[in-house]
């Protein structure tokens, strides 16, 4: 009976996921205008938060390089956008970020703890200033224009990256590779001793997460029309994914998704209703979330769920 219940639950969840996916895929047919645009930015934040968690969640290395990979994707889109079709420059943006992450990871992943966070944060600002110097003093033009693409196409592109990322994250978690990552986070030395190639696992995961961040950057760039180093490499994009992941809860795959959806929606509402107070409220929400939701929204929901169904569980 228990097995029947488990298989029922499993097929129920799969059916639910399929239904949501079908709804999302056909969305532009019945909800034109604002909804796909809002959902595109929500997907973008989900991609950033889930990609960040993919590497930093299990290993415990706090990466603040998200803005760097995101910006690399944006710049690739700006350079290749007028000559190549959308899918190709999205993949190119992802690959460029992948390569940057490989180099950075190979150089720096031996730094532990707070040093890694500081280094990756510094990387964002170093790239910004070098690029700005290059544009002002070598090319002589600051910023670039990006070819605009119709918003429904961008919506579908973002949706496909989002689905691919969720599948990748799911399979990494379920695989031997994912277990290796987890054990690096628990105790790196012990992981080395049981025969895990620690450096390789870390660098590859870091690069895979950068691939999705870069692809998301290349996609969203087509909506921004004009970019310059400060817009493309905005440090907010380093911190937001971390906050979203922590706000949602990092224990489960859907934690960062819940966090990103909540934050992205909150941001949209706050920007339109209270444009001057937006950042201030954002800060207050952040401090309150860290103080009172140590395991994130998902942790809170699980706690409430357990409290309401606790009696039943105890019997089985």
């Amino acid at each position: 009976m228990d097995i029947a219940r488990v298989t029922f639950r499993k097929s129920f969840f799969l059916g639910l996921l399929g239904l949501i996916l079908a709804l999302l895929a056909t969305l532009p047919r019945y909800a034109a205008g604002y909804t796909p645009i809002l959902l595109t930015s929500i997907f973008m934040y989900i991609i950033l938060a889930v990609s960040w968690t993919l590497f930093s969640g299990p290993t415990g290395y706090m990466s603040l390089a998200t803005a760097a990979f995101f910006g690399v994707g944006i710049y690739v889109a700006a350079v290749l956008g007028d000559t190549l079709p959308l899918p190709i420059f999205i993949v190119a943006g992802g690959l460029a970020s992948f390569i940057v992450a490989l180099l950075v990871g190979a150089l720096t992943l031996r730094l532990r703890g707070i040093y890694f966070a500081i280094f990756t944060f510094g990387l964002v600002i170093l790239i910004t200033h070098l690029l700005l110097f290059w544009e002002l003093h070598v090319i002589g033009i600051r910023g670039r224009f990006v070819t605009v693409i119709d918003y429904n196409t961008i919506y579908y592109a973002m949706l496909s990256i989002f689905v691919t990322l969720l599948l990748t994250a799911y399979f990494i978690r379920r695989s031997k590779f994912g277990l290796a990552l987890q054990s690096i986070g628990e105790n790196e030395e012990a992981a080395t001793h049981i025969g895990i190639d620690v450096t390789m696992v870390k660098v590859i995961t870091f690069a895979v997460s950068a691939f999705f961040i870069g692809a998301a950057g290349a996609t969203i760039a087509t909506r921004w029309t004009y970019i310059d180093p400060y817009i493309a490499f905005d440090v907010r994009f380093s911190f937001l994914p971390v906050l979203m992941a922590i706000f949602g809860g990092m224990g489960q795959l859907y934690g960062p998704v819940v966090g990103a959806v909540t934050f992205a929606y909150l941001q949209e509402v706050l920007i339109t209703r209270f444009p001057e107070l937006y950042m201030l409220i954002f800060g207050v929400v952040l401090v309150v979330a860290i103080l009172y939701l140590p395991n994130g929204l998902v942790g809170l929901i699980q706690r409430l769920w357990k409290r309401s169904t606790g009696g039943q569980r105890a019997n089985t």
């Binding site: 730094l111 707070i114 040093y115 510094g122 170093l126 200033h129 700005l132 003093h137 952040l286 401090v287």
Partner: protein, 290 residues
């Protein structure tokens, strides 16, 4: 390149370096002892600078007197922040790295709260006032008097703080807590009190640096984060947790910044990062690190 230019670059570098040194000493104390990598550190500089500006332009109080008014106020803010926010984070965190992560994010929230409140109150336009701007002649070069006075105060405050840490009883308790908090607690150091005091002293150093900075340069509500970033670089350069390292590192970075700015102004921040990244790769312990 004549003697005047060299003197100009050196004095300018020492001045900025001294301000960096004070800020970095504060951050070093907050990170080295209280284990909070305070991203909102620069906001206390901004608060110090703006309070001085308000006191001078509305009440006519001299910035040098503001040092003794603004400093203690900011110390109290820092002390209370640790007593409330960081203390409860420390209590609920399962491990030290977990606390470092959550407190880093909490200070990021603080940054947004303080900075945006300041923008609402003072708007984001640059402000400034003139104080002690009379020219002083020094070996053929001309300097504004406020720069030399600021330089003097910066060095004085830095040294006084070092002597406080090295010689007094409280300073010893702070250094003991930095080395090993639980053993220090066993020796009768009131550890919660010391951590809150350290956070307060860190904020105080930032506040004083802000007061002095506002005497020479124009100030802006969004100026904080840039200083925080520089302070982090200086702290790593000097060696995490080493107060003399931060003091020396501040002056080194100030001189480098001054020289690079003279050659190509837009590259000064990139130069800092280049040094920083090189340092992290070659000697992550910093110049005075153990």
């Amino acid at each position: 390149m004549n003697i005047t230019t060299i003197l100009d670059v050196v004095i300018g570098g020492l001045l900025m370096g001294g301000i960096y040194a004070l800020i970095a000493m504060g951050l070093s104390l907050q990170y080295g002892v209280a284990r909070v990598l305070n991203i909102a550190h620069g906001e206390f500089i901004m608060l110090g600078a703006f309070s001085t500006w308000v006191l001078y332009t509305t009440f006519g109080i001299s910035p040098l007197i503001s040092l003794v008014i603004v400093g203690p106020l900011i110390f109290i803010i820092g002390f209370l922040l640790h007593r409330t926010l960081f203390r409860s984070l420390l209590k609920s965190a399962p491990s030290l790295p977990a606390f470092e992560g959550s407190s880093l994010l909490a200070t990021f929230g603080l940054l947004y709260i303080i900075q945006n409140t300041a923008i609402i109150v003072w708007s984001s336009t640059p402000r400034g006032y003139t104080y002690l701007a009379s020219p002083v002649h020094l070996w053929g070069a001309v300097f504004a008097a406020n720069r030399l006075v600021t330089l003097g105060f910066v060095v004085g405050i830095g040294l006084a703080f070092y002597i406080f840490l090295a010689r007094t009883r409280l300073g010893k308790a702070i250094r003991a807590a930095a080395q090993d908090p639980s053993t220090a607690g066993l020796m009768g150091v009131n550890i919660n009190q010391v951590l809150a005091l350290c956070f307060g002293f860190g904020a105080l150093m930032a506040g004083l640096a802000g007061v002095l900075y506002s005497m020479c340069f124009s100030i802006q509500a969004t100026m904080g984060l840039g200083f925080t970033v520089i302070a982090i670089i200086v702290v790593v350069l000097g060696g995490l947790g080493s107060i003399p390292g931060s003091f020396i590192g501040g002056f080194i970075l100030g001189i480098i910044g001054s020289v690079v700015t003279r050659i190509e102004a837009s590259l000064s921040l990139a130069a800092f990062y280049f040094i920083f990244i090189l340092l992290l790769l070659v000697r992550p312990k910093g110049i005075m690190g153990k």
